[in-house]
Symmetry: D2
Subunit: 139 residues, 4 copies
Amino acid sequence: MFVTPYDVRFADVDNAGIFYYPRFFHAFHVAMEQWWDSIGRPYHVVIQEDKIGFPAVHIDSDFKIPVTFGDPVDIHVGIARIGTTSVTIRYRFVNRETNKVHCQADVVTACVNMDTFRPTPPPPHIRAALESILIRDDA
Amino acid sequence: MFVTPYDVRFADVDNAGIFYYPRFFHAFHVAMEQWWDSIGRPYHVVIQEDKIGFPAVHIDSDFKIPVTFGDPVDIHVGIARIGTTSVTIRYRFVNRETNKVHCQADVVTACVNMDTFRPTPPPPHIRAALESILIRDDA
Amino acid sequence: MFVTPYDVRFADVDNAGIFYYPRFFHAFHVAMEQWWDSIGRPYHVVIQEDKIGFPAVHIDSDFKIPVTFGDPVDIHVGIARIGTTSVTIRYRFVNRETNKVHCQADVVTACVNMDTFRPTPPPPHIRAALESILIRDDA
Amino acid sequence: MFVTPYDVRFADVDNAGIFYYPRFFHAFHVAMEQWWDSIGRPYHVVIQEDKIGFPAVHIDSDFKIPVTFGDPVDIHVGIARIGTTSVTIRYRFVNRETNKVHCQADVVTACVNMDTFRPTPPPPHIRAALESILIRDDA
């Protein structure tokens, strides 16, 4: 899986002192964009030149340990499944010191053509990229 | 279920012209707060005086029809289940004109004491409030 | 000025217990969109059919009294100035009980054609709308 | 000034294809937090151990060139002025390729004690940190 450090920010944490859960999904999305950056195909190129996007279709997510301001966390991004026109992205918020998983999400996305917004199989170079972080065993 | 109109805002919609999905969860949370307001027990009173909060533990969510800028939508909020120390909140984004469900989410929350952040059964007045929007049949 | 109630939300308030200031500007923008709604010309129609938008060019803003969770506030929206191709929108966060101004902002915007993103004089029906909340004396 | 790369994210850009301006202030705040990280005194330590915070009091900001998805930008953070109990933080969004300034903001903050929320002079180690990025000439 792709791993990127995430610094919990002042505005991530709510009045109860813990990470406001809707913001996890934004953090996950940004981590996915960072992965595209890391392989030399930034997400804006995927969207604008490849005309490929990945709108979410289904989310299954667990929040196990609250995240607080200053927690040393990494976001892990992997691909759990590649279907004909769907891609399941697996995200984890992992504590760098304890190695415990704060939360995780499986986001099933449709692979769509951005002009028509209709499902389409990922083009070969996109598919190869996704396969490079495919989780072989259910880890 | 509690129903509140939601006006899709300029900043909700992303560069692809559709609602950015992490923002649905914020919209849902705000709708839940509006429900507390509507029954005369604003969420800040629940949090600060009742010392009760509902952090998310598990989310199961479907996105069926993209939401675009200007779509006439309502958010529906109901309670799908009340356990000993857990509450499952059901949310729907419903088109006012077509009556179609754009997306829905079941958010399992823990009922916690805000001082200790430990699970606690909802106090009677909170439980009664939750029961007032309990979904009797799986609708 | 146009006045709309604003319910301070759980996620607006940061770990220090006060409104996170970048979110004021979003709240102001939403209030402006609500004003367009209120006059029967929703902002998505202005953007998509009139092809007119108002990107910010300059902001001058004061934060006087912190806003906390549960504060009863209204947002006031008026037009401070209409230039040839610019419009200055004045926003205020006002406490409904004390009538005190928590914060205010003058946002100078360019009136632009959304296809070319070039400055353009507001078309007559847009100008008339803006004039309906023009602040005659500096209030 | 402290310089940190900022990757424009999918959700930063609105339906008109440009950076939604309220999100600049969040990006600036995060850059300020990154600066605290970079000098080994993370902002959560400043807030929670030093009991010092910097709520915004006044903002003066210019938006000159729209920022679009994929633009190669840096955020520059410096201190424009240190008063007795106030600190003016200067932010710039600078294009890495053209060196042009997309937008800038001077954010006057109060230095406050986080327990009392009353103005206080910055303690010596905080003042020394701020002076390390003091802008000597108006650059």
